[in-house]
C-alpha cells in the first residue's frame, strides 16, 4: 500500500524527470523478498554497536549472540544455537566450552573464529556484559576466556561464588568481528582484565579505570560499514527506518527467505497502527492496541496475531509508608473492590489478560512454576468482604462513603504517567470503580516516565502502577517486589539487608517480614535473594511460598498480564511460529534463523 502511495505521488515528478529511473527503482524493491518489521528504537546517528542502547546493530538480524534464549519460565538456561553450534557446561556449572558454527563467516567473507569470541568478551568487560565484570570476586563473573582452537572457546566462571545465571549471561554475549574492532581495543586488554580481576588492590584499581575509560570510548563507536555474522547486514538507516540486506555468507543462509528487511522505528503507536492497518508490516514486536484497533487490524487481508505469554504484569503497588495503606486489611479491601477484568478491558483490552491471582506472578508463571492455585485468593469483586476488611482496619462507612478512623475522608490517589495510555486508561477505570464503591479515588499523572520514576523513588505517590513478574528467571520476578525498591539490598556477603522506608531507595515501604498463617514469619527479601543461588527444584518451593505470601499481604494488586502479541502478515510470507512458541520472545531475525518465515509461493 505504502509503496503504491509513494509511486502515486511520485508519478507527476517522474513524468518530468526520467520515466525509466522510476520504474527501475520500483522493480528493484519488488524483488519478492522485502520483509518489513518493527523494532523499538532506530536512530540514524547511532553507531553499529550492539552495546549502545540506540544502535544500528539489531539483535537477530545483524547482531549475533552465542545462543538464543528460549526464555522458558522455569529454566533460563535453555538456548537455541546461534554462533555457538553446540556447548558443554561442566557439572558444577563453572566451565563452558563453546563450539562455533563451522560455516560461520562474516559478511566480508572472513570466518568467525575463537579470536572473535575472545575479543568480544574483552569488549563485554568494557561495555558491561552481564557475565563480564572487571571487579574481583564478582558473583557469577567470568574470570577467563581461553581459545582452544579456531572454532572452540572455553569460558570460566568465578568458582568461589558461582551463580546459576552465569551460563545464560555468557550465552547472550554479542559476537563482534575482531578484525574490525581490534583497532579500537588495546592489544594488551586481556592483561589489563586479568590485572583487574587478580592483581593487587592498587593495580586492580588502575586496570579497572583503564577498562572503564575504554568502555566510555567504545560505546559511541561503531564501524562505518557493517560487518555482520548474522543473516543480514545493515545497508542504510534513516531516522525512522533501517534497511538490511541478506548476508550471503550467513551460515544458515538457506533458511533466510527475505532478500532484505526494512525495520520501522516504533516511535509512535499511531504510526505503527497505521502501518498495520495498511497491511504493510510482515512481523511486529509487541504493539499495544485498543480492542477497536485490533478488530480493524485483523480485518485487513493477511494480518494475523501470533501471541504468547509474556513475563510482564501491570500492577498497582502501594506506598506502605503512608497510612492507612500500611494496613493489610485496607489493601485487601481495595483488592476486593476492583473488578480487574473491567480494568483490563478498559486499559489493555487486546494485549492484556486480567491477572487471575494477585501473587506477583503471571498466569503463565503460576502454571510454569507449578504453584497450586487452590491456596491462592482470587479477590473476586465482593463488596461485603471489602467492607469487612475495611472495618477490620478501622475504616468507617458514612453516607455510602468510606472514611478513615478519625473521620477524615479515605482518599486513594492513583499515580500514573501520561506516557503510557494503558496505565492512564486503566487508572481512570479503577478510580471510577472505587468511587462507585464509596472510596474517594482520583487519578494523578506524572508528566513523563522519567518524572514518574522520580516521583516514585521520592515516595511522592500513594498507589501507583508498577511492572511486576518481570521474568523469566524467578529471582528477577520477585526482585521487582522484594528487591531494592522495597528496601532489600545485596550485602557484601551475598545476603540481603533491609533498610527502612524512604531510605536507600526503599519507596514501597513494606515491613521487613510478616506473619502469614500457614507460612509463619516470612522475610520475602531474603527468600527472593535465595532464588539466584539455589537449584531449580528448590526455586519452585520458594516461588510457591513467595506467591502465597504476596497473595496474602497484597503489596501490589496485579491488574493484567501482558500478552506478547506479535502481528504478522501472511500476504508475502508464511511459516510463522505458532502461538505460545518460545521463539516469539525473540526478534523475527531469530525466527528466520530457526527456520520460520518462508516466502509465499507466487
Amino acid at each position: 500500500m505504502r509503496r503504491t502511495a509513494v509511486a502515486a505521488t511520485a508519478l507527476a515528478l517522474c513524468a518530468t524527470l526520467a520515466a525509466t529511473s522510476c520504474s527501475s527503482s520500483s522493480s528493484s524493491s519488488k524483488g519478492g523478498g522485502t520483509f518489513t518489521a518493527i523494532l523499538t528504537q532506530i536512530d540514524s546517528k547511532a553507531p553499529i554497536n550492539p552495546y549502545n542502547q540506540s544502535t544500528n546493530s539489531f539483535r537477530g538480524y545483524n547482531a549475533m549472540m552465542l545462543g538464543w534464549s528460549k526464555n522458558t519460565a522455569t529454566d533460563p538456561n535453555k538456548f537455541y544455537p546461534a554462533i555457538a553450534k553446540s556447548w558443554e557446561l561442566s557439572p558444577d556449572g563453572t566451565k563452558l566450552t563453546v563450539h562455533i558454527q563451522p560455516n560461520a563467516k562474516w559478511s566480508d567473507g572472513k570466518p568467525v573464529t575463537g579470536d572473535d569470541l575472545k575479543l568480544s568478551a574483552a569488549v563485554a568487560y568494557a561495555e558491561g556484559g552481564s557475565a563480564f565484570a572487571a571487579i574481583p570476586g564478582t558473583a557469577g563473573g567470568t574470570v577467563d576466556v581461553k581459545v582452544i582452537d579456531d572454532k572452540t572457546v572455553e569460558f570460566d566462571q568465578n568458582a568461589t561464588k558461582p551463580l546459576n545465571t552465569w551460563f545464560a549471561n555468557v550465552m547472550t554475549m554479542y559476537v563482534l568481528p575482531a578484525h574490525v574492532w581490534s583497532a579500537q581495543v588495546p592489544s594488551d586488554i586481556w592483561d589489563t582484565i586479568h590485572t583487574a580481576l587478580t592483581g593487587s588492590a592498587a593495580d586492580a584499581k588502575t586496570a579497572q579505570d583503564t577498562i572503564t575509560a575504554l568502555g566510555k570510548k567504545l560505546i559511541g563507536w561503531g564501524p562505518d560499514k557493517d560487518v555482520s555474522a548474522g543473516p543480514f547486514t545493515l545497508t542504510r538507516v534513516t531516522t525512522s527506518e533501517a534497511l538490511l540486506t541478506k548476508n550471503k555468507n550467513f551460515y544458515d543462509a538457506d533458511k533466510i527467505a527475505p532478500s532484505q528487511v526494512v525495520i520501522k522505528n516504533y516511535q509512535d503507536n499511531s504510526t505503527i497502527v497505521n502501518l498495520l492497518l495498511k497491511g504493510e508490516i510482515d512481523g511486529s514486536v509487541y504493539v499495544a492496541v485498543s480492542q477497536s484497533q485490533l478488530d480493524k487490524i485483523l480485518a485487513v487481508k493477511g494480518n494475523q496475531v501470533v501471541s504468547g505469554a509474556s513475563p510482564v504484569q501491570a500492577s498497582l503497588v502501594f506506598n506502605e509508608s503512608k497510612k492507612p495503606f500500611d494496613n493489610v486489611h485496607v489493601r485487601r479491601g481495595l483488592a476486593y473492590l476492583i473488578d480487574r477484568a473491567q480494568v483490563t478491558k478498559v486499559g489493555e483490552s487486546s494485549s492484556g489478560k486480567a491477572s487471575p491471582y494477585p501473587a506477583g506472578l503471571t498466569a503463565a508463571q503460576i502454571q510454569g512454576w507449578g504453584v497450586s492455585t487452590s491456596g491462592l485468593n482470587a479477590y473476586s469483586v465482593d463488596t461485603a468482604k471489602a467492607a469487612t476488611e475495611f472495618q477490620q482496619a478501622g475504616l468507617k462507612q458514612a453516607g455510602g462513603k468510606w472514611t478513615l478512623p478519625d473521620g477524615k475522608p479515605f482518599t486513594v490517589p492513583i499515580q500514573t504517567t501520561s506516557d503510557f495510555n494503558d496505565w492512564t486508561s486503566g487508572a481512570s477505570n479503577v478510580a471510577a470503580q472505587l468511587q462507585a464503591a464509596g472510596v474517594d479515588a482520583k487519578v494523578t499523572a506524572s508528566s513523563d516516565y522519567a518524572t514518574y520514576l522520580a516521583d516514585l523513588a521520592a515516595g511522592k505517590f500513594t498507589v501507583s502502577w508498577w511492572l511486576t513478574a518481570l521474568g523469566p528467571s524467578a529471582y528477577n520476578i520477585y526482585q521487582r517486589l522484594y528487591g531494592a525498591a522495597n528496601g532489600w539490598t545485596l550485602g557484601t556477603g551475598g545476603g540481603v539487608a533491609h533498610s527502612a522506608a524512604g531510605q536507600s531507595g526503599n519507596w514501597m515501604g513494606e515491613a521487613e517480614s510478616a506473619d502469614v498463617s500457614g507460612l509463619g514469619t516470612v522475610n520475602p527479601g531474603e527468600l527472593t535473594n535465595q532464588l539466584s543461588q539455589v537449584p531449580p527444584d528448590q526455586q519452585k518451593q520458594i516461588v510457591a511460598k513467595l506467591a502465597a505470601f504476596t497473595n496474602d499481604q497484597v503489596p501490589a494488586i496485579a491488574m493484567w498480564d501482558y500478552v506478547n502479541q506479535n502481528f504478522v502478515n501472511t500476504n508475502r510470507f508464511t511459516g510463522f511460529p505458532p502461538n505460545d512458541a518460545d521463539v516469539l520472545r525473540q526478534p523475527q531475525g531469530v525466527w528466520m534463523q530457526l527456520g520460520y518465515i518462508k516466502a509465499k509461493a507466487k
Binding site: 499511531s270 477497536s292 484497533q293 478488530d295 477505570n429 471510577a432
Partner: protein, 302 residues
C-alpha cells in the same frame, strides 16, 4: 509677507473614538452583521458552560461500561468514550479547566505585557532598555520547548498554575507592541502636553495612555484566549502534561491514543472537543472582527 492664518479646523486625530460609548459602539457594530451576533452568543454560551457546567454533574459522570466508543444516541447525545463515559458530560465538565486556564493566561499576558510596555515606553531610558531586554528574552526563548521542560517541573494540578505558567511565557509581544504604541503617543505630544498641564504620572497613564492602548489590549486578550486554549490542549495532545481532572485536551489525547483517527470508531469522542474548540475560536474571531471595527474605523467598511 504672507500671514499664515489657520482657519480653526475640526481635525481631530482618529485616535480617541474608543473612549466614549464603547459598549454602545460595540453593540451597534455587532448588530451590523448577524455573524457577529452569533459570535457573541457562542462566546457567551461557552462562558455559561464553564461556569455552570461542572455543577450539572456533581457526582460521578454517567458511565456505561458495556458501551464504549458509542456513537451519538438518545441516551448519549455525543456518544461515549473508551470506557463508556458520556462524552457530553466530559465535554461540559471539562470546559472549566480549559477555559479558566486560558482566561488566566490571557489576563496574565495582557496585564504583564501592558504594564511592562506602558512603563518602559513612559519612562524610557534605563528602565526601558532593561525591560526591553527582558522582553526580547521572553520573545526569543522558544515558548513551546520551554513549556515542555516546565511541564516536567511543575505540577499543573489546577487551572490557575497552568494559566500562570502559560501566561508568564507569552507576554513578550504584547509588551513590545504596547511600548511602541506608548512611544508613538509620546511623539505626538500627548504626554508632554498632559504633564505641561501639571497632571500626575498616574493620571497621564490612566487617563491618557491606557485608553489609547486599550483597544489593542482588549483584542489581544480575546485572541490570547484562543491561543492559550490551543497551547494547553496541544500540550495535552503531546501527552506531556500530567492531568488531574478531565478536560478537553485529555479527551483529545485519549481519543487519539486509543486510535480513533485510525479506526473511526468513537469519532464523536474525538470530534466533540475539537469542534467545541473550533466553535469557541470562531465565536472569538467573529467578536474580534467586530471589536476591530469599533477600534479601527479605518478598517471600517465604506
Amino acid at each position: 509677507m504672507v500671514t499664515a492664518v489657520e482657519i480653526p479646523t475640526g481635525n481631530t486625530p482618529a485616535l480617541t473614538p474608543a473612549r466614549r460609548g464603547f459598549w454602545r459602539n460595540l453593540w451597534r457594530v455587532l448588530r451590523r452583521k448577524p455573524t457577529r451576533v452569533a459570535g457573541a452568543v457562542i462566546v457567551a454560551l461557552f462562558v455559561v458552560m464553564g461556569v455552570v457546567g461542572p455543577f450539572l454533574y456533581p457526582a460521578n459522570l454517567p458511565t456505561d461500561p458495556g458501551n464504549a466508543y458509542a456513537g451519538p444516541s438518545g441516551s448519549h447525545l455525543l456518544g461515549t468514550d473508551f470506557q463508556g463515559t458520556d462524552v457530553l458530560a466530559l465535554l461540559v465538565t471539562g470546559s472549566r479547566y480549559v477555559l479558566v486556564a486560558a482566561v488566566i493566561a490571557a489576563a496574565c499576558t495582557v496585564v504583564v505585557g501592558t504594564g511592562i510596555g506602558l512603563y518602559a515606553g513612559y519612562r524610557r531610558g534605563g528602565p526601558d532598555s532593561v525591560l526591553m531586554r527582558i522582553t526580547d528574552f521572553i520573545i526569543t526563548i522558544p515558548g513551546l520547548p520551554l513549556l515542555l521542560v516546565l511541564s516536567t517541573l511543575w505540577k499543573y494540578s489546577n487551572p490557575l498554575t497552568m494559566g500562570l505558567v502559560l501566561g508568564v511565557t507569552g507576554w513578550g509581544s504584547v509588551a513590545r507592541a504596547v511600548r511602541s504604541q506608548t512611544l508613538s503617543l509620546r511623539e505626538r505630544g500627548f504626554i508632554e502636553a498632559a504633564r505641561g498641564l501639571g497632571l500626575s504620572t498616574a493620571h497621564v497613564v490612566r487617563k491618557e495612555l491606557l485608553p489609547n492602548v486599550a483597544p489593542y489590549v482588549a483584542m489581544n486578550l480575546l485572541i490570547s484566549v484562543t491561543v492559550y486554549i490551543y497551547l494547553e490542549v496541544g500540550l495535552f495532545f503531546l501527552g506531556v502534561l500530567p492531568f488531574n481532572e478531565n478536560n478537553w485536551g485529555v479527551m483529545i489525547s485519549q481519543a487519539v491514543q486509543n486510535g480513533v483517527t485510525q479506526t473511526g470508531q468513537g469519532l464523536a469522542y474525538l470530534l466533540s472537543p475539537l469542534v467545541a474548540i473550533l466553535l469557541l475560536t470562531l465565536g472569538i474571531v467573529l467578536l474580534v472582527d467586530a471589536m476591530d471595527e469599533v477600534f479601527n474605523p479605518r478598517l471600517r467598511e465604506d
